[in-house]
Subunit: 301 residues, 4 copies
């Protein structure tokens, strides 16, 4: 397995086309594209890495997985009155369906749905406390208290993230936000600004593996459902393609990270900042396809 990871890292480093680094906030645009890391946290406790697996990166939308777990922990299935469970077939920041469907976002992994999730765990309380709880959840999952929020990234998103402001105000106009737009966006941008390395992210993802050795943060049924949602919605309008090519549930972020779950086996984090046309890590996706092919790991038999 270590050999495989090293080989994957080598192939990635040699790839001539590394995709395009996200430019929508200055902090992300400045990231060096020529980086690749992978980490595998096995259900038995082992952890293997290759490449730049210790370099911290902005997890961005990967945070939506942890936010969803936290929100479900708080309100349970009540969440589904305010957000759907279907793939949207549209880009991560689309506002179109929100109009068609009267302010109920299609799923918790597109930005509009994630804003509702954030509003749910924020629960009308203090953003600082809510973020503290989210960080607490992630740190417990990863068994690592050094995980933190990059304040500069959060501020940068708050200043330039007009699309997210547009989505949040739209939700508010439909009555689908409990806290003020400013509080929700403040919390959301900080949530997206969480920084982790591949090693940390792989560790944090272990609560979604079925195993006696992983932190029991969510019950079995909820774990399966979060995985199901990652499978059908985790890569936006590239979700079908990821399921087809990789065959494992995963959630991507515009910072270039992807968290992938091999149920019963391992939590995998891969990172490379260049993106494909869906806004998912290009080399990360290719690496996971190679990984799945070589290990034969697939939930589909």
């Amino acid at each position: 397995m270590q050999e495989l990871l090293s080989e994957i890292a080598k192939v990635a480093e040699a790839s001539p086309d590394k995709g395009e680094v996200a430019t929508y906030i200055p902090e992300l645009a400045g990231v060096i594209p020529d980086q690749f890391g992978i980490a595998v946290a096995f259900e038995d406790g082992r952890l293997l890495t290759a490449g730049d697996a210790e370099v911290p990166f902005s997890i961005q939308s990967v945070s939506k997985v942890f936010a969803l777990a936290l929100a479900l922990g708080r309100v349970g299935d009540q969440l589904w009155y305010r957000v759907g469970r279907e793939p949207s077939g549209l880009s991560f920041d689309s506002i179109l369906l929100l109009e068609r469907e009267d302010g109920i976002p299609r799923n918790p992994f597109i930005n509009a749905g994630a804003l509702v999730t954030t509003d749910t765990y924020l629960a009308g309380s203090n953003p600082r406390e809510a973020l503290g709880e989210l960080l607490g959840f992630i740190r417990a999952a990863a068994d690592d208290d050094s995980i933190h929020i990059n304040e500069k990234v959060a501020q940068s998103e708050l200043t330039t993230g007009h699309r997210n402001f547009s989505l949040a105000h739209y939700l508010a106009s439909c009555g689908n936000l409990r806290s003020s737009v400013d509080k929700v966006l403040g919390t959301y941008c900080h949530q997206c600004g969480i920084e982790m390395s591949c090693r940390q992210l792989a560790m944090a993802g272990r609560f979604l593996i079925e195993s006696a050795n992983t932190p029991p943060l969510v019950a079995a049924l909820r774990r399966r459902r979060i995985n199901a949602m990652m499978m059908t919605c985790g890569h936006y309008d590239g979700s079908g393609d990821f399921a087809f090519r990789v065959g494992l549930p995963g959630k991507s972020g515009v910072g270039g990270g992807i968290l992938v779950i091999a149920p019963g086996r391992a939590s995998i984090a891969v990172w490379s900042p260049g993106l494909n046309r869906y806004g998912n890590s290009k080399l990360g996706t290719e690496a996971m396809e190679m990984f799945a092919k070589r290990t034969g790991w697939s939930v589909f038999g």
Copy 2:
């Protein structure tokens, strides 16, 4: 397990709300709603059933799984130039995205995509021969030469299926059909008119389980990919919900049948003619949710 199936059948029979039987063709509208069957074909060769598992029904869109396998066998990945792999987020007979996306259907399981799949295995040849090949594939998979097409259902669909004619002409106007509209629709309506019982359908689905004991009709990678597509697209705009609630890849038909695959374990067929608002079997979906909960079978750990 036999006890579980019997219990599931009893719960289904006792259900006060059995959904609405499809009315868009007279032959389907006449089906008695008060029926429910389930069959499980295990990877080791055993087969268990409960309820009306021997009653033949119109498999309708479940046929798209076999058609996809046949078309991939014929042209391989070339198929993906003509049809996508993403959930559509819209109903099974939607034409809207076809306009947005210049005649490339979103996936092979919505009607527009299935017409392209049919056109692919038809390959410009004789509809009778092409249907013979499809039946041959299904009979081999089910190890049952009695499986046949209900000519009356096929004719009924040809006479009243304006929506499918609309889709086919649209595809033709975009240059995405090789055979004539009439040939493609003739073949497609006959394909949809295939009749099987739960027992036969469960048997026919075994080629999608990973097992030494099942018919080796497709290679491992293709099997996984078909399962992946069933997971993300098999229930139209209810696919996310099915993945969330059942956690297994499945494909539904408007006749009330659902084929569900538990990789490495079993092929399951469930049938009840009443439909929910997505056009999927209402009791069938509920039965599969109960089945998944009680067996703990889920690809998501």
Copy 3:
């Protein structure tokens, strides 16, 4: 005025970019692009022409104006239960809104709406008779019994017009056609195949001018309403632009003809086969803009 028309014809002939001739049926694709004609039929009976004003061309969608008048004459405001009165903001052959709006086309000038109009004046009767009535209306309006249908064009459209077949079947699937799809399309394609010269078309349009000297084929209120519909919907998703630039109600056809009404003054026909990106005659539109600017004719003061 004669000088102005000659000047307009000269400018048109000298134009380096004449647009693209429609290619969707072979009969239209073969038309020589280098032609331009204009004819003005004044309310006092005078008629002036310039350029190729005697050359017959396929009026195509301009026929929808006459078909609308005929259908309104038959069923009056009942028509508006089956077709809307709003601009669609989409191309002439779009099917998208039909799905959104359950088979009620946005207006009678997009293809879907025109099929409903045709179905209305067809009224379940014989296509030949219905077409006879339409031709009768046009011949009376133009005071010219030589106006006829080009059978070759009609047949060509019937063979290759998959988009219109798609629209008609969609309407049928929504229950918004009374006659069979084949009858409606047969009638519609013949209607589109009517051939007229600019001179004939300008003459035929006189019933939409307010004047004591023009044929009293429709009452004043209906005349105004047809003009209103031409203004808001007559150029598909280029209607706003035509109103802005020309300021007179008009209806274009893919054959390159445009019928323009200057209320109280004249009926104007202009023709040049090359189209702009909305499917409206490029030189025809430019000529009308020049005409409106130079005459100062505008309904907007």
Copy 4:
């Protein structure tokens, strides 16, 4: 004519269904529904009124006409690079097309387009100065220095107008705003908060009549073009219907006012706070239909 206006006012007062008063801001929700006024300012200087023609109301979107004239005066046809000229076929506050068309609003009369217009006359300068200029334009047009902004209404819209905030941030995310979102919205909400009576509004609209006696605020070509835009886009997704029923260019506001232009004849203002399903004054529209029928005034002959 005075008799006609009185009759119209009586019919309106007697109408059992007066529509629904807009509720999206508290200040508008509090307006007494049982009011109706009409004023006609003739090109020769006469002015006739009936009903509550002296009661000031919030002109809301009617302000977009004056804003458009001001913006065109500032940048001319440059404006059309940033906003379209086509009817949108969607509601006044729709964001859907903005996504489809990359941040270029369909026309200056839907909210998204009006925000671009406001940004254009704001021109990066001080909102107070820009509003001063707009008020100056309107006061000159109406020859009435008492016209002013209702600060309470403006503040109310700033606090509760999430939909407009959503639109503005979306435009900003597409790079189609020059000033900050806050400045544009501040200016826009004050613009919408302008208060006028029917008498004042009819007077202010005279610059859009063709006449030697009306203030020469815009050139003839521009006047026609603004009228054209009012005709095709002035009533949102009810524009076709208004053109069909009334036959004169008009612009409505959610406060219940409508400004209608009869080119060469008069500027008409009608007001009644109850709205129809398109967000246009219900009694106002009906009154204008009656007015047009009885006077025979119609741009369509």
